[in-house]
Symmetry: C2
Amino acid sequence: MVETTRISESELTQLGIAAFCKLGLPSNDAEEVVKILVLADLFGLSTHGMSRLESYGERLKIHGINPQPKITVERVASAMVKVDGDNGVGPLVGMRSLEAAMKVAEECGIGIALTRGSNHFGPISPYALIASEHGFASMIGSNATTTIAPWGGSDARLGNSPLGFGVPNPGGQPFLLDMAMSVVARAKIRDAFKQGNQIPNTWSTDAKGFPTTDPKTALEGFLLPVGGHKGYGLALMVDLFAGLLSNAAYLTHVKSWQDAPDQAQNLGHFFILLDTKKLGSSTWLAERMQDFAQILTDSPPADPSQPIIVPGMIELTKMVEQRKNGIKLSNETIALLQQYKV
Amino acid sequence: MVETTRISESELTQLGIAAFCKLGLPSNDAEEVVKILVLADLFGLSTHGMSRLESYGERLKIHGINPQPKITVERVASAMVKVDGDNGVGPLVGMRSLEAAMKVAEECGIGIALTRGSNHFGPISPYALIASEHGFASMIGSNATTTIAPWGGSDARLGNSPLGFGVPNPGGQPFLLDMAMSVVARAKIRDAFKQGNQIPNTWSTDAKGFPTTDPKTALEGFLLPVGGHKGYGLALMVDLFAGLLSNAAYLTHVKSWQDAPDQAQNLGHFFILLDTKKLGSSTWLAERMQDFAQILTDSPPADPSQPIIVPGMIELTKMVEQRKNGIKLSNETIALLQQYKV
């Protein structure tokens, strides 16, 4: 059982900014990083929230991540920008990419940022939420350290690349989807290991490709994709757009932040944004989005105690609750933040 | 066992054009439709190839599909077009949308066509192949007649919306992925029913939401999505982009071509195209694509008799073989084509 404490959004934000400033980031940049990590914690995605200060911090200290990158944005066509993150902290590079993509999308209806030279950028849903608040529908992806074998293969050659979507709902809750290609995230296996629990044999294989229930053995092996060859194909497509086309590293060229924390990962992302204001009025969109959700939630639940949910509902409901009552954070993460307190 | 005959690509093309012309299409439009259906058959996707002449033809005869649509393309922003298919044959509307999206993508780096007023447009991989031959990477989706229940629900309220991707590989085979969100396509259940076979209980449920092995019962129920809530979420996102944002029908608003063949379905699609020529030279792209495939195929196969494959390889290998030896077509489909022969 992980011990947790409630902390207010503003206090977590202040502690986070102080920590990243101490690690060498300019305060404006620290704010961008913390915005994403705090949203992750608000959504209840604690494995991708402020707990990442541990790995980001370790790598910043040994210059595995550049605390003061010169991020460049090159507009190669009217609706297409290439971003080079100069090995900056992932959520900072992510936010700059998102902003660049929104700018060209507002002008052209659709826009894309293809990003190289980045690092782990947190979960996708915070970016999709920010985009939706500005009226943009989004498709966002990132590649990742290799943890999955090719379908039918026996060693890890592709990342558990996340893919996410968002669609704005003026006056209501947007639809948000943030999915990785494995049955579960690697962080869940790490958690099971820390807590001394076994895992289901559908989550991962050992180093030779055989299913395992031992989290330690699983961490030496590789994750299993959802839907077999479909999840494998989808993970490859995310890497092709996020890594190969962006001129970042891809597949086994992506450096592991665990095995080589002192080296640049050269992770890649893509941000595709659609300006929904070009398609109709906010009333038109709100009516359709409300009707869409209604059709789904009106389906009689198979189990009457489990009402139908729509993507993003769990995270956004948690955000509202935690904004009111404080964010549940592990005491470990709070202790980590205290180390950087002035 | 389905009886098949080999037929050359050019003969199949001629027979197909003659059939669609007899059904009232102008010959240029018939050519576009047949291009997609013949590519589907070349890829070995016979459930989405010329066999569709049966359902398309029936609906054309009773004016459920418009043989001579006035397809409109409205450029709402420099990189964004809205297409209204005027209830034309799906692959015709699809080809016009693809062409419109490629045109704006060439100018702006990325482009999108959001299409309404369409019908079943065949498989996605033929469009992704054509895009890749012109140097475009693609993300393409369509919504569909409802066959899947909301996650935890007990009636069919969303379609088995297909999502596809393509990435060009100058001088080599592109990567193509064309996936539906269900474990299998509904057509596979129809085939099992026609052939009197049982189906695995992971494919579909009966009308009350319980798994079944009987194809007839399954056709009265609804398909199960891959990866549970992940496949459910992904199917919804495809419908949001293809149906809701395009101003087409979505979810239960999509008319069934089987239950109401005489009525317009108002299906929606999206075509997102990236001009890879804006990102680097064809040598740069070819080197990276070749390296990408090599990394995957170099993984030692778990089963030595099953070499690693990359997405699109099976279809493109079949295309080469069938261009040489003729396309394997069911005698039923050939008989169908003969009916329309002049």
